[in-house]
């Protein structure tokens, strides 16, 4: 079981008059088989939080710890943009993040490419794929290392509605079956309510404003009354926090 412990996390960029506070005094524990969504207006530090949790950025103050059964957890990261190596084929992009090049690993990569409906595109270069296809390769790459914690930064926002729906279902299955932890950033409250059992609301200036538990059974149908009520509840929180304007 993975655990994330965040204590007094503070992150600033720049100095003097250029100083930007991206995260302010965030305290947060995420444990076990959670699907946590992070919502909030643009620029409230969502990507920064994921960058710190995955080791890309370092905190200005405070500590973060990600462990899995006592050892350092392996994170998988789906970025806001696909971030593929343009000079490597799709398959090689997946292989790039693997620890070994065994046949098992290759088969696993192929399986996840098939999951995102790109099983026949392994030999293409990213430049030969559409933007949505590239994003799906990025998703397959993160899945393919079968991480202890999966971080996703608005992974479906560039995809068409049908593909996004299919992948949401796939993501839910994976989470349900593997009992892994998912930390999911989104702008879409409906998506957050449909997928997660916990929603963190961030406000401008990088403050954690609200922590909402959603204990409805899966699968959740947006048309379902209880799901609609939960969504309305989160949106009302947004209104109270005056987040909707942005």
């Amino acid at each position: 079981m993975a655990e994330i412990r965040i204590k007094n996390l503070h992150k600033e960029f720049g100095v003097g008059s250029d100083k930007v506070v991206a995260l302010e005094d965030v305290n947060l524990d995420i444990t076990g088989h959670s699907f946590v969504s992070i919502v909030g207006p643009s620029g409230c530090g969502k990507s920064t939080l994921l960058n710190i949790l995955t080791g890309i950025e370092t905190p200005t103050n405070g500590t973060v710890e990600i462990t899995s059964d006592g050892h350092v957890a392996a994170p998988g990261y789906v970025f806001q943009a696909a971030r593929l190596l343009p000079w490597r084929t799709v398959t090689d992009n997946l292989m790039f993040v693997q620890e070994d090049r065994s046949d098992d690993t290759k088969k696993r990569c192929q399986r996840y490419l098939e999951m995102v409906q790109l099983g026949d595109k392994g030999d293409k270069f990213p430049g030969e794929l559409s933007g949505g296809m590239q994003q799906r390769v990025g998703i397959a790459r993160a899945f393919s290392i079968e991480p202890d914690v999966l971080f996703m930064d608005e992974p479906f926002s560039h995809l068409d509605a049908i593909t996004a729906r299919a992948l949401r279902r796939e993501l839910h299955h994976m989470w349900d079956e593997t009992k892994k932890m998912v930390v999911f950033v989104t702008h879409d409250v409906g998506e957050a309510v449909e997928l997660s059992n916990r929603i963190l609301v961030f406000a401008k200036g990088g403050r954690l404003e609200d922590d909402i538990q959603i204990d409805l059974p899966f699968p959740r149908d947006p048309a379902d009354d209880e799901v609609a009520v939960a969504k309305a509840h989160v949106l009302r929180k947004f209104e109270e926090l005056d987040l909707l304007a942005s």
């Binding site: 971030r83 790039f96 993040v97 430049g127």
Partner: protein, 290 residues
């Protein structure tokens, strides 16, 4: 596309031509016509040249061109085979190419090193004007200066090559480093990819096109500068042979050397370098195609 649809409907027995095949054919015919016009330009020039030397211009009191001063293409070609038979040509090319390889090899290393150093503010200040001067001063200046200083010694051409070409490599390397893809490096870091693998699979492929551009432009200058240095101060190589034939007033031989030089440069540029580009930068074509 609608026309292909209707034809396939009307004649179902006709072999289906895939769109890929059509695109390939279109590309091939375009390539053929481009080469046709390109080669035609050579033929046109050679034809005018030969024609101007013909002895049919008595009404103008002689041909426009004097064959003693400027022999025609047919004569140059026969001289070419004569010289080739004597074995001077491969030897001269070998001498020149060795000089380029050593000089430009060194220049490439020095240029790349300075490009890396210039990432620091202080070294940037230190090298900035040197780079600028090397880029803007005509190569002839360095050729003359090194010829005066070093005379016949092989160090002269080497230094002339370095001074004229290192900056091209520096500028490209420096630009490449400035444009390092931070998003990809961050991605690799988050997936715990080793530093070695990050360098090998992100930094080097990213820098390769920049290095290649430096190589290409640097090489085309190194080539000209080398021949120039040989004209002024050397006892072997293509430039030296040109000087000898010019001094002996053997215009046919002089032109032969110029043509040999020209075709060899064209061959390197169009065949060798472009083949390397096609082989190693296939992904870039994929990017530009979309």
């Amino acid at each position: 596309m609608t026309t292909t649809d209707t034809t396939t409907v009307e004649t179902p027995s006709a072999p289906r031509v895939t769109e890929e095949e059509l695109a390939r054919r279109a590309r091939r015919s375009e390539l053929t016509s481009r080469w046709f016009w390109r080669i035609l330009s050579y033929i046109a020039v050679l034809a005018i040249w030969e024609f101007a030397l013909l002895d049919i211009f008595s009404f103008l009191r002689g041909s426009p061109l004097d064959p003693k001063l400027l022999p025609g293409p047919s004569e140059v070609v026969s001289t070419f085979f004569e010289i080739w038979g004597e074995g001077t040509m491969p030897a001269a090319f070998q001498a020149t190419l060795t000089r380029i390889a050593v000089g430009f090899g060194l220049s490439f290393l020095i240029g790349a090193m300075i490009g890396i150093l210039m990432q620091s503010k202080w070294f940037e200040g230190f090298f900035k004007d040197a780079v600028l001067i090397s880029l803007s001063a005509p190569g002839l200046i360095w050729v003359l200066i090194t010829a005066i200083i070093f005379g016949n010694r092989p160090l002269g051409p080497t230094i002339a090559i370095i001074l004229t070409t290192f900056a091209l490599v520096t500028v490209n390397v420096s630009e490449g480093i400035k444009a390092l893809p931070k998003d990809l490096l961050d991605m690799a870091k988050s997936f715990r990819v080793s530093v070695f693998k990050r360098n090998r699979q992100i930094v080097i492929p990213h820098l390769a096109p920049y290095l290649f551009t430096g190589l290409r432009f640097g090489f085309s200058i190194a080539w000209k500068v080398t021949v120039l240095t040989e004209v002024f101060s050397s006892s072997e190589g293509i430039g030296f042979e040109m000087r000898i034939s010019a001094v002996l007033f053997d215009m046919s031989e002089f032109l032969t050397w110029i043509l040999a030089f020209f075709f060899f440069a064209l061959f390197l540029e169009k065949v060798v370098l472009e083949a390397i580009e096609r082989r190693y930068f296939r992904w870039r074509q994929a990017v530009t195609a979309t």
